[in-house]
Point group: C2
Chain length 328, copies 2
Amino acid sequence: MTDGAPLASTVDARVRALTERVRKGEPSAVARALTLVENREPVAAALLHELWPDTGRAWRLGITGPPGAGKSTLVAALIAHFRKSGRTVGVIAVDPSSPFTGGALLGDRVRMGVAHGDSGVFIRSMASRGDLGGLCASAQEACDVLDASGKDVILIETVGVGQTEVEVVHAADSIVVVLHPEAGDAVQAMKAGLMEIADVYAVNKADRPGADRLEQEILGMLGLRPHGADTWLPPVVRVVSTTTVGVPDLVAALEKHRAHQNQTSGTDSRRVRRIEQRIRLLVESEMRSRLFGRPEAAARLAALVADVRAGRTTPYGAASHILPGNEP
Amino acid sequence: MTDGAPLASTVDARVRALTERVRKGEPSAVARALTLVENREPVAAALLHELWPDTGRAWRLGITGPPGAGKSTLVAALIAHFRKSGRTVGVIAVDPSSPFTGGALLGDRVRMGVAHGDSGVFIRSMASRGDLGGLCASAQEACDVLDASGKDVILIETVGVGQTEVEVVHAADSIVVVLHPEAGDAVQAMKAGLMEIADVYAVNKADRPGADRLEQEILGMLGLRPHGADTWLPPVVRVVSTTTVGVPDLVAALEKHRAHQNQTSGTDSRRVRRIEQRIRLLVESEMRSRLFGRPEAAARLAALVADVRAGRTTPYGAASHILPGNEP
């Protein structure tokens, strides 16, 4: 790094050793790095700082949609597809409501049909553990680790339809919204702003009755959208994830989106936007942690709230107590 | 204030004079205060600090829904209803996409059917002017001013169906989501998370065909919601705002909601939550302004983004440059 250590101290030799092994794609090193990142250990920032130049190569695909749409099965089918074409795959499975975190249970790899001992696939489950705001940052950073470890494709799968899931999947280059032909499904997806973020729609379980109607519903809504010459119109792809029918078409649609992105908005402006967003995210997250996250800060906030409640001060007085250096 | 001046300096005598006049409800003083708040003038914090003890009395109603639902006409009908029952009314009309801000055009008062010279109604339009994040805070603070000026009821009307509008209207005690029987309307509302925030649904233009079906759609969706003994089940009220049919029923439903809130969650815990939220909002907004908002800070961010882009540093290095006192 030409700017020297960004932190005042020299980057720990152990961090350097770990990053070396991550770059080589060693599974235990990748797992260790992901754990540091997920736990937001102080050393994680140094690690991510070291790995940053190695990021930017992987293709990041977001897979989201309401529960029951068969996303996990589709992820398994996509893994198989990419492996067959010789590409390595990382998977970050994010479930904000799950209490389980920190690794992929053996069941995950089996569930996703990963051949035993195939080091070309790395799967990681992440949960929120109460800090939804930090989850988005953690998910992005986990993708960075997998990216730096050499994975060609990274699948970010989110469960559920909340605002957090939508934000998490925003880290992807291309986003697939997976729906299926059951009552109220398109409706449910719309509720969470999912329809707006889709780059490709996948109608899964397309062999079931109602698939036609769902496809028409989606196309109908897309027809209402204003679009210009350069606007990407998300295609609707029918798949049956359990049999992998339609999966090559889905990947082809995603490749088209990738090409479109490179042509129009230009990879450059998108990268600049992501860099800026990442910096803001880091700074705001650290500020919030310092101002409210630490136990003494949380206690102070509670005391100030009580003061306001009792009429001893106002939110403005309270805020000026919290903000450092607030002499007007 | 028993804690002395929260700001190091003595509160300006002019601010005191202005707050005196605001408390008396003088329209020119209220207008002046709203302008200071909307422009986020430094003195606004002192003003709001002085007025805080005078807030908390007004009943804040949020009126939102997709465009074309006839919200403005409904607001006019509500104003008339409250005036007839002897209550004074403040209106904050928020339009994030509008370029116009800073007062109510004469047309607004006429449009809302306010009798000439009726000082029992105060209407104010607010627009985002590019800072959507600040709009929510400004809207809440504008309500505080109207509250402190003695208005019994404050109507917060938002236009559109975006995330910002949903957040703005969250400042209200009770929220009406206004729909009307045109194709795709309930669907549109669901898109923006509107359905989840409604305390009362108003089916406007209820004399048109499709009103029955819309009412059934809404009731159907409500039926799917899990609810316990204490859960408020939002009623659906049919209104025709142009003739004011149904408006008394709408108000009655809102009064019921108010009573329910006081009984169950307790006005107290809701107030505590709002105080905490306001303090956080103030602190985070000030931090963001200092870290990114000021011209020199924005320039520094742009330079750091360029550095990252050129590979001279990483977002982590950049963040540590921005954060004060970040020696690890």
